[in-house]
């Protein structure tokens, strides 16, 4: 494999999706509860991608919306719920009633899917974990196997590597090479980024390389594996970005009601996705004061001294 050249990778979300997300791709828009690139998901819908395999531990509202729009034929996941709220009704309609189209499910536990990313990220043929033994999940997903420990201590479950065509991750800040600082819930972002053939990073702030190099332990994704950097403020709304804005829980509660009615979902997609040119238009439509209400008070980490050694 060839490492992407070290060039300025800053592009628009439109360009990034047009370049790296085609029909029939496997796409992982990741981030646990926060850092979810709704901006990328909506752009994928605007570009009318079809037959996607959507991969995400917790499908959340973004995949509920994409599946309602008919963009996906398969979902790989480990927990299918509206976090802290309830069901994902659009996905349930697809699974229970094939509306708007049938949806294949490939299902894991959280650790199992994390493990698939981890194996894919380090070019290992499998990831071993103490799970699944005794559960019907083994029968439900033949990719999960149980093997004998070569050292004779007993049985252990394994899952195979997962290498999505493209991972799309939102973070606080990155430089133009894609060297990315992330803090708060680290989730599975590092693993899915290294596991994927292409990586799109969307950030609240594009910073100078010097900012990244001033705290190298904070760099979760190196530009080496990043193909595109998108400057997308509020791109994770209605999910949150630690230190930048809170989860917009009203939107999650509203979706819980709205999503139970397919016509309402279509109207919502027309107004908030197809009816808008890009994320900037979405932010403008909601208005800055709306986002100001979601801004937490500052809580700064104490600085650390790396020392100059010369």
């Amino acid at each position: 494999m060839k490492n992407p050249p070290k060039t300025d990778k800053l592009v628009s979300m439109q360009q990034a999706i047009a370049t790296y997300v085609g029909d029939d791709c496997s796409v992982a828009i990741e981030g646990f509860t926060g850092f979810i690139s709704f901006a990328a998901g909506h752009e994928i819908l605007r570009q009318r991608r079809r037959n996607l395999t959507l991969i995400r531990m917790t499908p959340d509202l973004i995949y509920d919306q994409m599946i309602a729009a008919g963009a996906a034929s398969k979902l790989v996941f480990s927990y299918m719920g509206n976090p802290g709220v309830g069901s994902l009704y659009c996905i349930r309609r697809a699974v229970e009633k094939s509306i708007p189209r049938p949806l294949d499910l490939e299902e894991y536990s959280h650790y199992g899917l994390v493990g698939r990313y981890a194996a894919g990220a380090s070019r290992l043929p499998f990831f071993a974990l103490r799970s699944y033994v005794g559960s019907d999940m083994l029968a439900a997903n033949p990719l999960i196997k149980v093997i004998d420990d070569p050292y004779g201590t007993g049985k252990i479950a394994v899952v195979p590597p997962l290498n999505p065509d493209v991972a799309i991750l939102h973070a606080q800040r990155a430089d133009r090479q894609g060297n990315t600082h992330l803090w708060g819930l680290l989730g599975m972002q590092k693993e899915v980024a290294f596991a994927s053939r292409h990586v799109i990073v969307a950030v609240e702030e594009v910073v100078d390389e010097a900012v990244i190099r001033a705290d190298p332990n904070r760099t979760m994704i190196p530009g080496l594996i990043v193909d595109a950097v998108v400057h997308e403020p509020y791109g994770a709304h209605p999910s949150y970005v630690q230190g930048y804005y809170d989860r917009d829980n009203e939107s999650y509660l509203a979706w819980d009601k709205l999503s139970q009615d397919p016509t309402a979902v279509e109207a919502w997609l027309d107004e908030w996705v197809y009816g808008l040119a890009n994320r900037a238009a979405y932010v403008k439509k909601l208005g800055q004061t709306y986002f100001d209400k979601l801004k937490p008070e500052p809580l700064l980490a104490p600085s650390v001294d790396y020392g100059r050694y010369r």
């Binding site: 509860t33 480990s78 299918m80 229970e96 536990s109 559960s135 680290l186 590092k190």
Partner: protein
């Protein structure tokens, strides 16, 4: 009998908190379990640290978290790590003393279903699935279930076994080599159950004030086993109710 001066949810929270006495770590979700843990820390388990599958150890939320990935769980926590590390170094390593779980269905051996109602391929109702529950039920030292007592939930046979409890009872769990101890308690809104018998079968161990054995049996889909002595659980103390209502859940989100 006269109306109780507390809600069923408050009773569940208080009973769960009592059961966490002296615990050091608990693997927890949002809602009632979260409230129970916070109540326990301010009463019977001062050293209790909360662990969330989102990667948080030692959370000190300044508000009631809206989900297990709420940013309030991150700010002020002792440690926030990747999910690979949380599941590998904390849960699988055996550092989780107690895990609180729930589900749509539970059977007499404490096995849980959070996956489907009906057939797996053509489900009547598609539920969220495992999340971390499968590995939590396998690796936690002790597991407590917190569920409302309903006949449609306490079933003779699960539609799908998501999270292993005592499997088919007896030593069947140990024979499969599952490292954790499995289900210890089922905390409901009417009664408390344990598995303290050789067959590791759920048995009624305590009734809440004013609840009868028949009322409990009516909500359980198999012939209910009774502990040798069935105690009456204490009602919440005034101080416990004050903590819940004034400090832990001032906006009454979980009552």
């Amino acid at each position: 009998m006269s109306e109780p001066t507390y809600t069923a949810s408050e009773m569940m929270i208080v009973v769960a908190a009592h059961m966490l006495k002296g615990a050091r770590t608990v693997f927890v979700g949002v809602g009632l379990p979260n409230m129970a843990c916070n109540l326990a820390r301010s009463t019977v388990a001062p050293d209790l640290e909360l662990i969330y599958e989102s990667g948080v150890y030692g959370a000190r939320p300044e508000r009631l978290p809206l989900s297990i990935g709420d940013p309030t769980l991150v700010s002020g926590a002792i440690c926030v790590v990747s999910m690979a590390d949380l599941f590998g170094l904390y849960l699988q390593r055996g550092l989780v003393e107690v895990a609180l779980l729930g589900g749509a269905q539970i059977d007499r051996y404490g096995n849980l279903n959070t996956t489907v109602i009906g057939d797996y391929r053509t489900p009547k109702t598609r539920l969220p699935g495992s999340g971390g529950a499968c590995e939590i039920s396998i690796n936690a030292q002790r597991t407590f279930m917190i569920m409302r007592l309903k006949r449609r939930a306490f079933v003779d046979k699960l539609d799908f076994l998501t999270s292993p409890g005592h499997l088919s009872g007896g030593d069947s769990r140990a024979r499969l080599g599952l490292p954790g101890g499995g289900p210890e308690l089922v905390i409901t809104d009417k009664a408390l159950f344990n598995f303290d018998n050789p067959n590791r079968e759920m048995q009624l161990s305590a009734l809440y004030p004013g609840v009868t054995v028949n009322e409990v049996q009516a909500e359980v889909g198999w012939p209910l086993r009774l502990a040798e002595t069935i105690e009456e659980a204490d009602a919440p103390s005034a101080e416990e109710l004050r903590l819940i209502r004034e400090e832990l859940d001032p906006h009454a989100m979980y009552r």
